[in-house]
Symmetry: D3
Subunit: 150 residues, 6 copies
Amino acid sequence: MEQTTYFEDYEIGASRKTSGRTITETDFVVHAGHTGDFFPHHMDAEFMKATPFGQRIAHGTLVFSVGVGLTASVINPVAFSYGYDRLRFIKPVFIGDTIHTRTTIAAKEDDPKRAGSGRLIERIEVVNQHGEVVLAADHIYIVERRTKPA
Amino acid sequence: MEQTTYFEDYEIGASRKTSGRTITETDFVVHAGHTGDFFPHHMDAEFMKATPFGQRIAHGTLVFSVGVGLTASVINPVAFSYGYDRLRFIKPVFIGDTIHTRTTIAAKEDDPKRAGSGRLIERIEVVNQHGEVVLAADHIYIVERRTKPA
Amino acid sequence: MEQTTYFEDYEIGASRKTSGRTITETDFVVHAGHTGDFFPHHMDAEFMKATPFGQRIAHGTLVFSVGVGLTASVINPVAFSYGYDRLRFIKPVFIGDTIHTRTTIAAKEDDPKRAGSGRLIERIEVVNQHGEVVLAADHIYIVERRTKPA
Amino acid sequence: MEQTTYFEDYEIGASRKTSGRTITETDFVVHAGHTGDFFPHHMDAEFMKATPFGQRIAHGTLVFSVGVGLTASVINPVAFSYGYDRLRFIKPVFIGDTIHTRTTIAAKEDDPKRAGSGRLIERIEVVNQHGEVVLAADHIYIVERRTKPA
Amino acid sequence: MEQTTYFEDYEIGASRKTSGRTITETDFVVHAGHTGDFFPHHMDAEFMKATPFGQRIAHGTLVFSVGVGLTASVINPVAFSYGYDRLRFIKPVFIGDTIHTRTTIAAKEDDPKRAGSGRLIERIEVVNQHGEVVLAADHIYIVERRTKPA
Amino acid sequence: MEQTTYFEDYEIGASRKTSGRTITETDFVVHAGHTGDFFPHHMDAEFMKATPFGQRIAHGTLVFSVGVGLTASVINPVAFSYGYDRLRFIKPVFIGDTIHTRTTIAAKEDDPKRAGSGRLIERIEVVNQHGEVVLAADHIYIVERRTKPA
């Protein structure tokens, strides 16, 4: 679905919660196969039994990719993704955990390079079934202004 | 492969280059299916013909996940990944591009929370076959010190 | 995204067009691997050179599954899928074709088994980049009435 | 395997049972990733705990695609698939269920468009490990006649 | 499909040819992700340009697994696979090559460990679209005798 | 990682142990989908309940491909894989087993076809979490000599 939203229309503090997704053993195997990262932390149940985690933990890039993917429901044709700041892996995600993502408009800034656009700081929090934030990041989203400067 | 390297042993400026990997249409389809992000930028060749890119472009999370995955060759059992700063999507990655990753030790800092460890800032650059950096990020890596403070 | 729509709110003739998706060789291979149907029509380029098609053609179930999947953007919590009538494979889909799906409310009927719901006949048409309908079907969708009979 | 069977050679009432296949959580994840349908009914174990099903249920298109795929063991070079009528999702399929498919020749009709062929109505029933039919459909199969009309 | 064939019923020299399958870039990516072998020979098109092959070549285990998989059409419930001798990677398989497998009963031997069974040596040859054998192996198949020794 | 090792540098008896990997239900499903082998031994939990195994067993080609894949960590640019002898499926691998691979240099021979290289016989043993060898094979590895014969 496509919906145009201009920089002016985003309100600081506005928040959105995605649908949930159970992270399966399949997701672990697919992510390892996709990235080539077969470290035993993600792939070797025997090895992990002897660690404080007691079991395999998800790749950080898995939680990030799926957490961001959950937000991909509406296309804004006047915006693009610039990058992320302060991406943090806060808690482990285990096989069988169910995550969703909460996004909050945290700040609006001028874009130093593009007068016709603004920078939106969108706080991304991936949350598990216990309500714990497992991953956080600040998404930098460049959005066109409805009213371009003269 | 496992190899223990302590905080003291990392040298600022030390650099490593991974092997390369051609990003295929399969990787695009796998990443969409893995994350649920089927935006036309990645999946609709007709739609993209009408854009300045002229063709489908890789998901940012794909380039990040595969770029980081390429570095996953040696396990350091006295280190763990804390997060990333300044993750930037610099240039598009197209089907058929071949990327590798260059990592450089950029800085060493005390870890404010863990006296027995230090924070390593590892500069990650994903580079395409033209030598262009397509993605950059600062990896924060927490590594144990050989000599723990008394 | 979730949005409640009752039977009374659907209007005959209302139509919706999904975003597009390029059907890749990967989709052929994934579908064969998912279903176990490795017939040479889908998997053997040499065999197909000698047929009127001249190349591999997509599984009917692939076009149906992806065509229906493209419509899965908004969850209606007061509705469920009952089945399909008149599912027809009209034209072949080749590797590299880009399809989208058009849905049209074609009819509204009482549900003989559920007085509190109605049957919606939703016409599904999967359309390629040349504007040709490649697959059609009538989706039977059972939707609750806002006003339940006494 | 290829085996030529003409329209005349099919007998009404003839029935065939395929081998079985356990539907795994992997199949759910693969089907979501293949079709882009990540609805919580299939992907969110927490959400489904609160429903009468109590757990995730398979996509209708998954059961259909795999159920039909199970029948794809012998190629008949003088036949092709025209479509399906009365496709019905009768019972849910859960992770761990084992299904097989039973096909029965239900009817033989003239093909109104092709004098040299006939229309076979093949009843498809996908059956679970409890002997319950979970999906049914009438497959319309166009088969050449051995004796073409003059 | 299941079909019982006893040791006595196999004839030396009997040969079977499977249907064909085009080996796609997807198969390369899937095999790398499945096995964790991302060596540049299979994954890095730029690297391979500078080699005598000029392009990526399939993993030996890919050609073996798919070549053997092509023969898996009929289950013999009185037989099992013991292993393989003289598995040889004879020619490279490139993306887009179409392979099929030819099996020939090469020898019949007593099974030194099982008086009630015999050892069948089945010659496996994977053949490309140019008629060249790309992989060969001797499959050792243990098959029950119809007439067990007293 | 790339590391040049000449024929002279390999020592008979030298042994290496890879990291471990838990074989998941996902691996079974991926391997079936990759190879087209959907035999009930690997895919039908109900069918296998009635056998001495009591559960699904991994494809022989799965254990071989993953077992060999685990060894693919260091590229030797002066060597290539010639084939395998005495590949044996010794014990079944079940869903949830964790395997690793042990390689041992078993023999060094002249290469009858290439005076400048030698043949290394590398014993491959895939070992499960109980320390049992589940698969064994002799890998034939052709490696260049540092000192080529005059």
